[in-house]
């Protein structure tokens, strides 16, 4: 394992120290926690938005703390859900009396830890609502199982719910729009190489020299199939088809597109992927309102990408276009 770290067990601590040192004009770290909140938190009259999850997905989620998006981000150990006490600290720190929306990616650990934190907050009289993001179409959806994972589409939830909260909407309204985003966003990823959790010291899975995994999750969870490397156009087609099958878009529908790098993918390759994505959508007469290309939800040093499509209506367009000022997302 070759990484720019000091101690594998201190990576989250060291990262947060460096992050706050760089961006102390816009964020602060709650003492003795791994919680990052807006510098001016809590913001009076505004619903608070808290997200979080395991670290290793930077800029998710602390990179989205700021005006127009999140009020707080809770950073767990690498690929490990943060604990309820930390989430509870975040909730308390961002609540101005208007309630707090928790944006949770659909993983067993995240769900349990955020639910326990919500129970703690409710016991303290704080109004809490939860939205669970499950945009990954690589996983079969079923009420009997854990269900679909939350991946890069989560960033659209932060953006749109954050924009509505910034306008002074109620907790119910912010929760409703967050759920609307979840219903209308689908994603799917693929991996070219695995990644290594620092404390584990070796890759979480293996891929042969010419192998790729279609449908890979952001923690290296297996996807749909291992296959041989193919031209980018074909990979884009595979991912997009699965998304389109599920999202059921019609001609003249409007979408936002996100081409997300998983950590070690050159921007060049992401744009190459987007070439095909934009062509396919154009052929289908689907109108692309805006395309976001870059790293939004990574998986340490994994090479690969995910594609997300968000189906838009007038409300979502207005909120997507609204001002945002965070480290990782600006409008």
């Amino acid at each position: 394992m070759k990484k720019l770290i000091n101690d594998p067990n201190q990576v989250v601590e060291d990262m947060l120290a460096g992050m706050v040192a760089a961006h102390s004009n816009r964020m602060k770290r709650l003492p003795n926690t791994n919680v990052i909140v807006r510098k001016e938190a809590p913001i009076q009259g505004k619903v608070g938005l808290v997200s979080g999850g395991g670290s290793g997905h930077e800029p998710s989620h602390a990179g989205y703390v700021g005006k127009g998006m999140l009020d707080g981000a809770v950073c767990g150990e690498v690929f490990t859900s943060p604990t309820p006490d930390q989430i509870f600290e975040a909730i308390q720190a961002v609540d101005s009396g208007n309630g707090v929306l928790l944006i949770i990616k659909n993983y067993t650990g995240d769900i349990m830890n955020f639910e326990m934190a919500a129970e703690m907050a409710e016991a303290e009289g704080i109004n809490v609502a939860k939205v669970v993001v499950n945009d990954d179409v690589a996983v079969e959806d079923s009420t009997y199982t854990t269900g679909r994972r939350g991946i890069a589409g989560t960033v659209f939830v932060h953006k749109i719910a954050g924009a509505l909260a910034e306008k002074g909407a109620t907790l119910k309204e912010v929760e409703a729009v967050a759920k609307k985003v979840v219903e209308n966003v689908r994603s799917m990823g693929m991996a070219l190489t695995p990644c290594t959790v620092p404390a584990a010291g070796k890759p979480g899975f293996e891929l042969g020299e010419n192998e790729i995994e279609i449908g890979m999750g952001i923690h290296g969870e297996p996807g749909i199939e291992k296959t041989q490397i193919q031209p980018a156009d074909e990979i884009a087609q595979i991912l997009l088809e699965k998304i389109l099958d599920d999202l059921k878009l019609e001609e003249n529908d409007k979408v936002a597109v996100m081409i997300n790098g998983l950590g070690a993918t050159p921007l060049m390759e992401l744009y190459i992927m987007n070439k095909k994505v934009s062509e396919v959508l154009k052929d289908k007469n689907i109108y692309i309102h805006e395309t976001f290309v870059g790293e939004f939800m990574t998986s340490l040093e994994m090479a690969g990408c995910s594609i997300s499509l968000l189906k838009l209506d007038d409300q979502l367009i207005e909120l997507l276009d609204a001002q945002a000022d965070t480290i990782a997302f600006k409008k």
């Binding site: 395991g54 767990g76 150990e77 690498v78 690929f79 490990t80 859900s81 943060p82 604990t83 309820p84 006490d85 930390q86 993983y107 067993t108 650990g109 349990m112 830890n113 326990m116 996983v139 079969e140 009997y144 199982t145 854990t146 994972r149 959790v197 404390a199 584990a200 979480g204 899975f205 999750g217 923690h219 290296g220 969870e221 297996p222």
Partner: protein
């Protein structure tokens, strides 16, 4: 035999020793069908727990298990933190104010833990989770006049091994669907170590309820 604060501490310390010894093994099991952090998280959380309870003074089992539960909830993270944390918090409520209890009362407390686990994790027997070890083990302890140390260990191991043939319905392994078959569930493996550690307390080999 009776179960008191010293024995409870010994149970947790023995369990921690086994977790530390099997850290790599648990992580490997989790790498096969999960996200590969079970061994690391459990090792970190129980190390902190042992530190906390060896420094602490406890008048009753309830306050000891409360510290265990709270430390796990705060230090483990992932899914195992809230699950093991909930298990010990539920046991703590059942044993509140008790300096020592007979084995029957301990088993009742563990049955409360099991109920807590099922609510928190929304899992049932057959879902390929820790419940596949917990439920039959609690049933065994409830229904026997005497608990045999070896039987308890063997049953936990058998049930852990049994998860190998199951298709995961809960947790990250569920994403694998049928591909999860053929692997032992990491939570079932750590649960086996928990009950094997409990069995070691019964030095004479068996205890009457």
């Amino acid at each position: 035999m009776t179960f008191d604060v010293e024995q409870a501490k010994k149970w947790i310390i023995t369990f921690n020793d086994k977790i530390q010894e099997n850290k790599e093994y648990l992580t490997e099991l989790d790498q096969a069908i999960g996200d590969g952090d079970h061994g690391l998280n459990m090792a970190r959380g129980f190390q902190e727990t042992v530190k906390k309870i060896t420094e602490g003074k406890y008048d009753d089992l309830g306050s000891l298990f409360k510290d265990v539960g709270m430390t796990l909830i705060a230090k483990v993270g992932g899914a195992s933190g809230p699950l093991y944390g909930t298990a010990f918090m539920k046991a703590s409520l059942a044993l509140k104010g008790k300096k020592e209890v007979d084995i029957k009362a301990l088993v009742e407390a563990l049955a409360a833990s099991l109920d807590g686990l099922k609510v928190r994790g929304k899992a049932q027997v057959g879902d390929k989770t820790m419940i596949d070890v917990w439920e039959p083990v609690i049933e065994y302890m409830k229904n026997r006049e005497t608990i045999h140390s070896k039987e308890l260990t063997d049953l936990s191991k058998e049930k852990m091994d049994g998860t190998k043939e199951l298709e995961a319905k809960k947790g990250r392994a569920a994403y694998l669907g049928k591909r999860s078959i053929g692997h032992i569930d990491p939570g079932a493996a750590s649960s086996y170590l928990l009950f094997a550690s409990l069995a070691e307390l019964f030095e004479e080999g068996e205890v009457a309820q």
